[in-house]
Amino acid sequence: MKRVLSILGGLLLLCSSSYLAQKDEGPPFHAYVDSDLCARLMLGPITTARQECSVKTYKDGSNAVLVRLDDNTVFSVNKEKMVKEYVGGFGEAAGEVKVKSGTMKLQSFKPLDRGEIPPGPAQKLLDVRTYNAKGSAETHEKVRHELAMIPYITNFDFISFTMVGNDVILTGWTVRDTNRSDAEFRVKRVPGVANVINNIEILPLGGTDMEIRAAARAALQRNLSTYFWSNGSDIKIVVKNGTIILLGSVRTQQDSDIATVQCNSVSFVFHVFNMLRVTPPAPKDKG
């Protein structure tokens, strides 16, 4: 009797685990293999410039991610080695996706040529003309203002967005869950916004990254204090697994170079991506 029960129990366990495995598997989708940096900063069509950016920044240390072509959702993958040789290319990916956290347990990846992407939403997002359908300037400004006013944004978060027609694609990095959900909540309320795709990544809070954040901020505050004020800064310091991404704007190229040098001097930093914009002050602000 005991043996029969244990066999039945084993069968039940086997059935339930295979059912769960099936349930977790999402349908395969067409994807562009991107670097984390370009996927979150170069929102738009997959042009030659984008592909060059992907390959270069991946080589410099940015992680490989998948961009689902159907809707521009970015997924960090658990098995980067399955896709790393296809960065800058296309393919069909299958596995368990978690849209909320932007992660994917990759089970298979089949490389494809660009021409093999079938007609439909995936192909549409490869078309430059799709991105020319800009939303209204008024809606864009309202979205920008809403994101600028998120209260818990620190020096270590950067949230960006683009509009494709009336859809808003949110992207960037944050150290807080609440910023990810708050950004989506605020943008959804803006009149004129139809859909929101949330590609904001929650950054890990590893001990080394925390030390890097503190040291990088202290170094920049010491040397570029004009860009920091009591409750914020013009320079954002995104730290992920030992990599620093500098975002925001400075007034001169020299300041931008100082930022790179200062961040490179921080212990345990593998690479500094300087994405700072150099925006000279308007004539009336001079002097």
């Binding site: 170069m42 994101l147 600028a148 683009t162 503190a214 009591s230």
Partner: protein, 260 residues
């Protein structure tokens, strides 16, 4: 060599010990009565849990009698931190309460629930971590004025809720909390919430949050935790020049090629 008649060598050791004990008791407003429980000294307005009460001021963003403090230093204020360590909650019993009637089980039920409520209230804004770092705050909290409640009757809580012999009364409890730099211990913010939210509320079982009779206690703890979050939210709100500068400074990255 001329030595004093009253040098320390001549003072008996037992006298030194007595003086030291007397000084310790005399200087602190609260005394440890038993493991994990302290008692508020008679006639004291505050428990002594916080390092300093002088800087606390009424906060218009919070109803009731909450007093708060937030550091205004441009380089070291609440916005300089984004992670938090939530320390176990400490208990200060009322001056006239009998400490021997406060069981460890009831104290642990009380403090565990409140610690979890605090974590739930703050964790999406301040991710909870365990290791001190330069960007991490430490939340120290005390429940002040806990009293011994009535005996728990057989029907007050189902057996699986593990009823205590005697409840803890939190009807006149206040909350004192402090956010300090987890590395240096420097105080960044503090709050004393004396709003009487839990009038008549008692904690009479280990799993009291599931028992209707003790619902008032659960609600009081949840409300206190929520007020801590309201305080943090109000301190993070962008106002005045900061809001203008943040708005002017923020430009999203679009589809252009990032320059390196």
């Amino acid at each position: 060599m001329n030595t004093s008649r009253y040098s320390l060598k001549t003072v008996p050791g037992w006298l030194c010990v007595i003086v030291a004990i007397a000084m310790t008791i005399g200087c602190s407003p609260a005394a440890e009565t038993k493991a994990g429980v302290k008692k508020i000294a008679a006639g004291q307005e505050f428990s002594g849990f916080l390092k300093d009460y002088a800087a606390l001021k009424p906060n218009p963003n919070l109803d009731g009698n909450a007093l708060t403090f937030a550091a205004a230093d441009a380089k070291q204020n609440l916005r300089s931190y984004f992670a938090i360590i939530v320390d176990p909650v400490e208990v200060y019993i009322a001056t006239d309460a009998d400490a021997s009637k406060v069981s460890d089980d009831s104290r642990i039920a009380l403090t565990n629930y409140f610690q979890h409520a605090l974590i739930g209230a703050v964790s999406d804004a301040f991710p909870v971590v365990e290791t001190p770092s330069p960007l991490t705050l430490r939340l120290r909290t005390a429940l002040v004025g806990v009293d011994v409640g009535g005996q728990v009757a057989a029907g007050d809580a189902p057996p699986d809720a593990k009823p205590f012999e005697r409840a803890l009364n939190i009807g006149k409890v206040g909350v004192e909390m402090e956010l300090v730099d987890s590395k240096t211990g420097e105080r960044i913010a503090a709050m004393v919430d004396r709003t009487n939210l839990g009038d008549g509320a008692e904690v009479g079982a280990a799993n009291f949050s599931r028992v209707q009779k003790f619902a008032a206690a659960r609600e009081a703890f949840d409300e206190w935790a929520s007020r801590v979050r309201t305080f943090l939210d109000s301190e993070h709100e962008l106002k005045g020049d900061d809001a203008l500068r943040a708005d002017k400074s923020y430009q999203p990255y679009g589809s252009e090629m990032p320059k390196q």
